[in-house]
Symmetry: C2
Subunit: 385 residues, 2 copies
C-alpha cells in the first residue's frame, strides 16, 4: 500500500519500515484520533473520520495484518438483512447498507427464513425456493413448510469491507500501522508496540512508541472491553462468546439463497456453505473453548453448537450427513471471539465513553447489518467536537 | 446408623463394613430399585419408594457421606416460596411443602421481594419491613420503595431434608451404601465401587460390585446427565451451572426475612446471611470455574456473579461494604454445580426415561420449592409398575 495522492496517509506493514511519530503539537498530541483495531468497525470508523474530519491527523493501528486473521471480522456471516430486525432499527440498517455498498463489494442474495408454522408474510417453502431446487434439498419441506423471504438481502465479506475502508481512509490521509499491538492509556494516549517475528517464530516487540491523541477509539472487537479494564481501569458489563463456523460441503452457486432456521444461518460461500450457529449467551470469564464430545465421539465443534446442530437434523437433514465437517479438535473448525454488548446476543453495536478522551466501539452479532452505521455515527460525533 | 426395627434396611458407611449384595432372584436382579445419589432428590425418591412400594428391595448409593458435601444439596438456598412461581406450579409446590415439613425441619420465614416500581400486591417497603429494621438497613428504600411479601414462605436446610429422608427410607427397609461411586449400565445394572482413603489421602476403589435392578434411577445432580451420556450412550440436552454462595457478615435473627431483588436472594443463616445470586444460563462444556478480577483486584467470586453484585450495590448498599466476603480465590467461596434441566434456569425439576430400565431425576434451581414433589411423583410412577 503506497501513497496515491498528495493527501494520502502512510502505511507501515513491518518493522523494516521505520516509523517516526509526527512531531507533537503545542498540546502534546501527535494525532487527533487514534483508532485501535482495523476490523470492520475500526476501519469504517477511520474512513468516516477521514471523510467527516478531513483536516485531522488520523492513525489506525492493527495488531495483525489487514484484514486481521484472528478476529470476528473474518468469520462473521457477512449477511445484511432486515429479516428479524425490529422496525426501529431499519433506518440504521439502511445507512449501514450504503456503507457496505461503498466498501464491501456486496452480492444481492435472496434470504429465506424457514418456519414450522405459518407467520405473517410467509409463503410455502416450495414456492419460495422454486428457483433453487438444490437449496430445497437441504431441508425437509414437510417439517418446514413455511418461509419468509428478504429479496433485498446482501452477502458480503466483512474482511473485504475492512480492507477497502482502511485503504479508503489511507487514501484520504489516515496513517495505518500494521503488526502493532496498541493499548490505550488514560487521558488519550496509546502505547504502541511494533511486533516482529524472530527466526524461531516468536512474536516479539521490536520498538515501543507512546503516542498521544486528542481522542482514542478502542475498536478491538471482543478484546476491547478487556483492554478498557486492564489499561484504563474502567469496568464494563460487556461480554463475549466463542462462535464457530463449520463448513458444509454441499455445492452452492452465486445465486443460492442464504437459509435461516432456528438461529442457524447457512451462507453460500466458496461454492459450498458456511454455517453460522446461534449465539445463545456470553461465555463465562476464563472459559477456554474446547471441542465437544457427543456420546463419546470427539468433534472440533464446541458442545453447545453440536447440540444445536443435532437438534436441527430432522428439519435440515443435510446436517446429519458427512457433508457437515465436524472435525476432531478445535483447530479443525474456524472460530473467533465475538463481542457481546452488555453480554446480550440481541444487542445492537454501540459506542460508549470510557473516559473523556477514550471511546469504546463494539460490533458483535449484529455488526453485519448495523455495525457500519454505528461506526459512522461515532465518526460524526467525534468530527463535530 | 443401625437397624431400628425388623423392617429396617442396612447402611454401609465405610469399607470396614463388609458388603454382600442380596442373592439374585430368578430374573437375575439383586434389587427392585437402585437410586444413584443421596442428595435431596434421590433421598426423597427413596423414602417415597419405601412408602409406596414397601415390599420392594431398595438400594440408595451415595459417593460421599450423608449429606454429601460436594453437591448442590448443601449449598442450595433452602427457600420454599410461591413468590415468582407460575400459578400452574402452585399445586406441585404445596405437595413439596408437605414433604419438606415431613423431612426438612423448616422454619416459617417471611419472604420479601423488592421492586423499583409498584407491582400488583406491592406495599411500601418500609411497611413490609416495619418489624425488621435490621433488614431494612440492608437496602436503599428510596431506590426500592415497593415490596411484595410471601408470609407463607419457609426456609430449611436441603442437607437436612436429604439426611432425614434417607434415614426414613432406611427405617422403612431401604439399604444405603455410602462412600460408593455408582455408574449406571445399560439395561438396569449398576457398577458400584466402594471407595476408601489411603494413608496418603488418595481415594481408591476398595472393591467393585455389579448390581442388577429392575430399575435404576440416576439422581446424581449436575453430574447425572454426564453419567447418562458416558455410561449409557444417551445424549441429553441438560446443562449445568456453577453457582456460588458468598457470605454476608451482617447479623440476622431467627425471624429475619429472606430478601429477593433482581435475581439475588439473601437468606438468613447461622446468624448472618448467605447470598444466592441469579443463575443466568448454563455454563459451557469444559468450563472450569475461576475467581474473577474487577479492575485488577482478584476475588474468589466468578466474574459474572461479581458483576451482578456490583450492579446491585446502589440498591443494596450493604453489598458495597467489607461485610460481603469476596475472597481472593475460588476456594474461599462456597460453590457447587447445579443441574439445569434443558439448560434452562427457569425449568422445573423433572424425570425422564434414559432407557426402559433407567430414569434420570434432575433437580436444579427450582428444587427448593418443586423438587420433592417431582421425586415423589417418580416414586408413585415406579411403584405402580
Amino acid at each position: 500500500m503506497t501513497a496515491s495522492s498528495s493527501r494520502s496517509g502512510r502505511a507501515w506493514a513491518h518493522v523494516g519500515q521505520p516509523f517516526t511519530p509526527p512531531a507533537p503539537r503545542p498540546d502534546g498530541t501527535h494525532h487527533d484520533f487514534i483508532v485501535i483495531g482495523a476490523g470492520r468497525m475500526g476501519s469504517v470508523l477511520t474512513a468516516a473520520l477521514a471523510a467527516h474530519a478531513p483536516a485531522t491527523r488520523l492513525l489506525l493501528i492493527e495488531e495483525g495484518g489487514l484484514p486481521n486473521e484472528d478476529g470476528d471480522t473474518i468469520l462473521a456471516p457477512g449477511l445484511w438483512t432486515t429479516a428479524h430486525l425490529p422496525a426501529d432499527r431499519h433506518a440504521a440498517a439502511q445507512a449501514s447498507r450504503a456503507l457496505i455498498e461503498t466498501f464491501g463489494a456486496p452480492t444481492p442474495r435472496l434470504h429465506v427464513s424457514l418456519h414450522a408454522h405459518a407467520t405473517p408474510g410467509s409463503v410455502p417453502t416450495r414456492d419460495a425456493l422454486r428457483d433453487h431446487p438444490d437449496t430445497l434439498a437441504l431441508l425437509d419441506p414437510a417439517r418446514l413448510p413455511h418461509a419468509t423471504t428478504d429479496p433485498h438481502a446482501l452477502t458480503y465479506r466483512p474482511g473485504t469491507l475492512a480492507l477497502n475502508a482502511a485503504q479508503a481512509a489511507v487514501r484520504a490521509g489516515a496513517d495505518l500501522l500494521l503488526n502493532t499491538r496498541a493499548v490505550p492509556q488514560p487521558g488519550g494516549a496509546v502505547r504502541a508496540e511494533r511486533l516482529t517475528v524472530t527466526n524461531t517464530h516468536q512474536v516479539v516487540t521490536h520498538e515501543t512508541h507512546l503516542l498521544r491523541a486528542r481522542h482514542v477509539i478502542v475498536a478491538g472487537g471482543a478484546a476491547g472491553p478487556a483492554l478498557a479494564e486492564q489499561h484504563l481501569g474502567v469496568h464494563t458489563r460487556h461480554g463475549r462468546a466463542y462462535r464457530q463456523s463449520p463448513h458444509l460441503n454441499v455445492p452452492s452457486g452465486p445465486d443460492s439463497p442464504t437459509l435461516h432456521h432456528a438461529g442457524l444461518t447457512l451462507v453460500p460461500r466458496h461454492g459450498a456453505y458456511t454455517l453460522h450457529p446461534r449465539v445463545h449467551h456470553r461465555d463465562p470469564h476464563g472459559y477456554r473453548p474446547t471441542g465437544g464430545h457427543l456420546t463419546g465421539v470427539p468433534t472440533g465443534l464446541r458442545r453447545e453448537t453440536l447440540e444445536d446442530l443435532v437438534a436441527l437434523m430432522e428439519d435440515l437433514p443435510v446436517l446429519a450427513t458427512s457433508q457437515l465437517h465436524l472435525g476432531r479438535s478445535l483447530a479443525d473448525i474456524p472460530g473467533a471471539w465475538t463481542a457481546l454488548p452488555y453480554g446480550d446476543p440481541l444487542h445492537a453495536p454501540l459506542f460508549e465513553a470510557l473516559d473523556p478522551h477514550v471511546t469504546l466501539l463494539l460490533g458483535g452479532p449484529h455488526a453485519d447489518t448495523l455495525g457500519p452505521q454505528v461506526a459512522q455515527a461515532l465518526a460524526q460525533q467525534l468530527a463535530g467536537r
